[in-house]
Symmetry: C2
Subunit: 502 residues, 2 copies
C-alpha cells in the first residue's frame, strides 16, 4: 500500500520535473542561442511556465497523499529510499506552502527591477541608486525568514534553501576557522617575495583550437558528450534537463587560455555529478543533488585538487605545449605550475586565486548575515565592505563597481548563497583526502591522464545516492567524520608552502 | 463588454501559445542540438507538455466565455478582427472537442509505432511489414473524419486541418487541371532533346563558406537575424516561438552547394511570413498563418519564382563565382540557369524539379483520397503507385523504398497534407503575377539584388493580416479573383518553353 502511494507521489513529482526540464531548456537557450529580439516573448514564456510548475507543486497534496505519507514517515513506517523521497518532497512542499503567492510575486517583481537597477549602478559605480532596492530586498528576505520560521537566526531560514541542514552559527564557526588560517597565511605568502610572472602564459589562442583542447580534457574526465553538450555563453554554467542531457558552457578569452580551461574543468565537475545521478529515478529526490555546497565540492575537486595539481599537468602540459607551442614551448612545467597557482589578493571574487577566494566569500557571508539579522545599516555597506577587504586581503577598494556592486547575487534575492562556495571547497578537500586513502595510486593515475578512477569513486560514493543523505550525513558516510576544516587548511598550507618555499 | 470578453479570450489563447512556444523550443532542440542519449527523457517532456496544451485548450470554454462569443459572432454582433479571432478559435476548439481523449491517444500510439515500423520497412524496402499499420491508420483517420463530420467526402474533414476551407472536390478539380497541363508538357520537354549536364555544378564546397553565402542570401531577403537563427539539421525546417524568434535550418552537401541554397531560400521564405506576422497580436489568430498552402506559397515564391530566375542570379551568380571559382568561374550564367532548372522525371519527390514535383503530389493526393474514401485495398498500393509513376512521369519504380515508402507523412497520420504543396505552388504564381503588376520594376530590382521591395509587398498584402482572411478570401483580396491554376501553368509553360526551345 505504501509502495503504491510512493509510486503515485513519484508520478506527480516526475511530471513537475519534466515541466522544470522544459523551463531549463528555455533558460539554456536564452543564455546560449536566443536571438536578441526574442527576449521579450521568452521572458513571458518562462514566467508562465515557472508559475505552472509552482501551481502543480502546490497541488501535489490536494488529496492528502503527501500528508499521509508524511505521517507514515513520522511514525517510522518508512525506511531507506522511501523515507528519503517523502522527507525531501515534504521539505520543499512545506517551505513553498508557507510563502503566500502575493509575497512570491512581490519578491519576483522587486528582484526583477532591482537586477536592472544593479546593472546600471554597477556600470556607473554608484551604490546609492541600488541602496533602496537592496533595503527592500533585505526587508522581504527577512519577511521570508519569518514566514518560513527559524530557530536562532533569520539567516538560517535563507541558508537552508541552498545548504539544507546548515545554519548561521555552524557556518560562522567553520568559516571562522578558515579565516583564522587564511589571513595570517596570506600575510606569510606576501612576505615570501617569490616572484611569479603570470604574463608568460598569455598569448593569442584561436578559439577553435581552445575548444578542441577543452573537449579533450572534458572527455578525459569522462564527461559523456552523448549525454551532454559544450557551448559558449557570457557566464559559464551547467544545466541539466535530466541525467542524460547535461550541458555546460564556457567563455573564451583569446589572450588567456587558462580561463576557458579552468571554467571547463569546473563546469564539467558539476556535470559529472548530474550525469552520475541515477537516471532511473529521474523526477524523484533520489536523482537530485544534495546541496549547493556538495555540488560545488564536485566542481572544485576537479578544478583545484586535480586541475591545478602538478600531476594533472604532468600529463596535460605536454599536450598543451604541442597544441600551443607559443607561448608554452619554452616554459618549464614547474614554472607553469607556479603561474597557474599564483596567490595574489585582488578586488574581484571571480578572478581570485584558490586561497584568497575564500576571504572574498567570508566577508560576503559576514555582511549578509548581519544584513539579515538587522545589525547594520545598508547605507554603511560600502564602508564595511571596503574595511573588510582591507583587513582580510590588504588592499584598498577604489570604487563600488569593483567593491560592493561586483556580484549579481543580492540583486536577485540570493542571500545565503555565498557561503556554499567555501563550504564546497571544504567538502572537496575532505572528500579528496578520503579518495587518496581509498585509491592509493590516484596521483600516479592522474599523472598519466587517467581520470576515470576518481570519477568512478565520486560516482559510487556521492553521485548515485542522489538526495538520500543530507550533506552532513554524506560527509560522515563517505569520510567517517563530520565536516572538518582541517583537511582544507592543511591542503592549502602544504600546497602553497611548497610553491612559496615557506 | 464584448471587447472585454475578447480580451479575456486573448489572455487564455496567449497563455496556450506560450506553452506551445516552449513545446516548439523542445522540438527545435531535439532536431538541432540534443545529444543522443537525451531522446528518452525528451520525448516524455514533450508528450507531457503536448497533453498540457491540449488540456488548457479544452478548458478555454469552461465558463462558457467562448460559446457566448460564438453566439455573438453568429448573430452578426462582431466584426473585423474580433470576428476573425472568435471564428478561428472556435474552429480549432470545435474540432478538438469532437475527438475523445481515448481516440487521440490511440492515434498517437498507433502513429508512434507505425513511424518506427515505416523507418524499418523503408530501409528494407518492404511495404508488407508497413501495410497493417497503414491499414490501421487509415481506419483511424476515417473514424476521425466521422467524429469531426463532413459534407461530401471524409477526405474533406482531413484536408480541412491543413487547408481550411478547401475540399476534396475542388482540390481534385484544380490539381486535375494542373495534371492535364503537366503530363503532356513533360512529354514535349522530353522530346526536346536539349542536353543539360548538371554535373558541371558539382564540386567540393567547404561548409563554412557555404554557410556564409547562405547567410548573405538570407540577409538580402531581409530575413532578420536579430529575430531568428540559421542552424543545421538532418531535414531542413522552419519553426517559430513567436514572430520575433523564428528559426530555420538547412543541411549541407559538400558536393552540391545548390542543395543548401535552395533549402535556405525556401525556409527563409517561410520565415519571412512568420517574422511578418504582427507580433503585437501574438497568441491570437491575428498572428497566425492562414493555411499550409498559403505558407508554402511564401516559401515557393522565393525558392522558384525568385530563387530559380535568371534575374536573381544576374546579381547572385557573380557572387557565387567569386566565392567558389571552382567550378563556377568558367561556367556561363545561361548554362548555370539551365542546369538549376533542368527538368528530369525522378523517383523521389524531394529531389524533383519545379515541374515534375507537382506530378509527385498529384499522384499522392489521388491515392490518399481513394484510401480514405475506401475505394482501394491498401495491399494494392504499391501496384497503384508504380502505375501512376509510369503514367505521369514515364519511369519504372524499382522498389518500395524509392516508391510508396519514400515519404514520412502517412506513417505519422498526415493524410490530407500533400495537396497543400501544390496548392502552395498555385498560390505563389498567382501572388507573384499580381506583385509583378503592382511593382513594375520588380525584375529590375531583383537583378540588382534588391529583394526588399518584394518582401514589403508580401508583408503588406499577406503577412500582416494573420488569419483575418481565409485562404480563398486572401487570394481574392490580393489578386481580385479566385485561385486560378492558369497563372501557374502559364508560368511553367513560359519558363520551360524558353529553356527547352519549345
Amino acid at each position: 500500500m505504501t509502495l503504491v502511494d510512493i509510486e503515485k507521489l513519484n508520478i506527480r513529482t516526475k511530471e513537475i520535473s519534466h515541466l522544470a526540464s522544459a523551463l531549463s531548456l528555455l533558460e539554456w537557450d536564452t543564455q546560449v542561442y536566443m536571438p536578441e529580439k526574442g527576449s521579450g516573448g521568452r521572458s513571458e514564456t518562462t514566467s508562465l511556465l515557472r508559475t505552472l510548475v509552482h501551481q502543480r507543486f502546490m497541488e501535489i497534496d490536494a488529496d492528502g497523499l503527501l500528508s499521509e505519507l508524511k505521517k507514515k514517515l513520522d511514525n517510522g513506517d518508512l525506511g531507506g529510499k522511501e523515507a528519503a523521497i517523502v522527507r525531501e518532497v515534504w521539505r520543499d512542499f512545506e517551505r513553498e506552502r508557507k510563502l503566500p503567492e502575493a509575497f512570491v510575486k512581490e519578491l519576483a517583481q522587486t528582484t526583477s527591477r532591482a537586477h536592472k537597477v544593479w546593472e546600471k549602478a554597477r556600470k556607473e559605480s554608484d551604490f546609492g541608486t541600488f541602496q533602496p532596492y537592496l533595503e527592500k530586498i533585505v526587508e522581504l528576505k527577512r519577511k521570508e525568514a519569518d514566514l518560513v520560521g527559524y530557530g536562532d537566526s533569520p539567516y538560517d531560514a535563507l541558508l537552508d534553501v541552498f545548504e539544507p541542514g546548515m545554519d548561521a552559527k555552524e557556518t560562522g564557526r567553520i568559516l571562522g576557522e578558515l579565516k583564522d588560517f587564511a589571513v595570517p597565511f596570506l600575510e606569510k605568502i606576501k612576505q615570501a617575495e617569490v616572484s611569479i610572472d603570470e604574463k608568460k602564459i598569455l598569448g593569442d589562442f584561436p578559439i577553435e583550437k581552445q575548444k578542441e583542447f577543452n573537449e579533450f580534457i572534458a572527455q578525459k574526465m569522462s564527461f559523456d558528450l552523448e549525454a551532454g553538450r559544450m557551448d559558449v555563453s557570457t557566464h559559464p554554467f551547467t544545466i541539466n534537463f535530466h541525467p542524460q542531457d547535461v550541458r555546460i558552457t564556457t567563455r573564451y578569452s583569446i589572450e588567456d587560455i587558462m580561463y576557458s580551461i579552468g571554467s571547463t574543468i569546473h563546469e564539467a565537475g558539476h556535470a559529472l555529478y548530474e550525469q552520475g545521478l541515477p537516471h532511473e529515478h529521474f523526477g524523484t529526490p533520489l536523482a537530485e543533488y544534495i546541496s549547493l555546497g556538495i555540488h560545488e565540492s564536485q566542481s572544485r575537486v576537479w578544478e583545484n585538487q586535480i586541475g591545478k595539481s602538478k600531476e594533472f599537468w604532468q600529463y596535460f602540459y605536454p599536450e598543451l605545449q604541442s597544441r600551443f607551442p607559443n607561448p608554452f614551448k619554452d616554459l618549464e612545467l614547474d614554472e607553469f605550475y607556479r603561474i597557474i597557482n599564483k596567490v595574489e589578493p585582488s578586488l574581484i571574487r571571480v578572478e581570485s586565486d584558490e586561497l584568497t577566494y575564500n576571504l572574498h566569500i567570508i566577508l560576503r557571508f559576514e555582511i549578509e548575515k548581519q544584513m539579515i539579522e538587522g545589525d547594520l545599516k545598508i547605507s554603511d555597506l560600502p564602508d564595511i565592505w571596503n574595511q573588510k577587504v582591507k583587513d582580510y586581503l590588504g588592499i584598498d577598494v577604489p570604487n563600488d563597481r569593483e567593491g560592493i556592486l561586483q556580484d549579481v547575487h543580492w540583486s536577485g534575492g540570493s542571500i545565503g548563497y555565498f557561503p556554499t562556495y567555501s563550504l564546497g571547497n571544504l567538502y572537496s578537500a575532505q572528500f579528496y583526502n578520503q579518495a587518496q586513502k581509498e585509491l592509493p595510486d590516484l596521483s600516479g593515475e592522474v599523472s598519466k591522464g587517467e581520470l576515470a578512477p576518481l570519477r568512478e569513486w565520486l560516482r559510487e560514493k556521492i553521485h548515485i545516492h542522489g538526495k538520500q543523505f543530507t550533506a552532513s550525513g554524506l560527509v560522515k558516510e563517505v569520510t567517517g567524520e563530520e565536516l572538518n576544516p582541517n583537511y582544507y587548511t592543511q591542503y592549502l598550507q602544504e600546497k602553497f608552502s611548497s610553491i612559496y618555499g615557506l
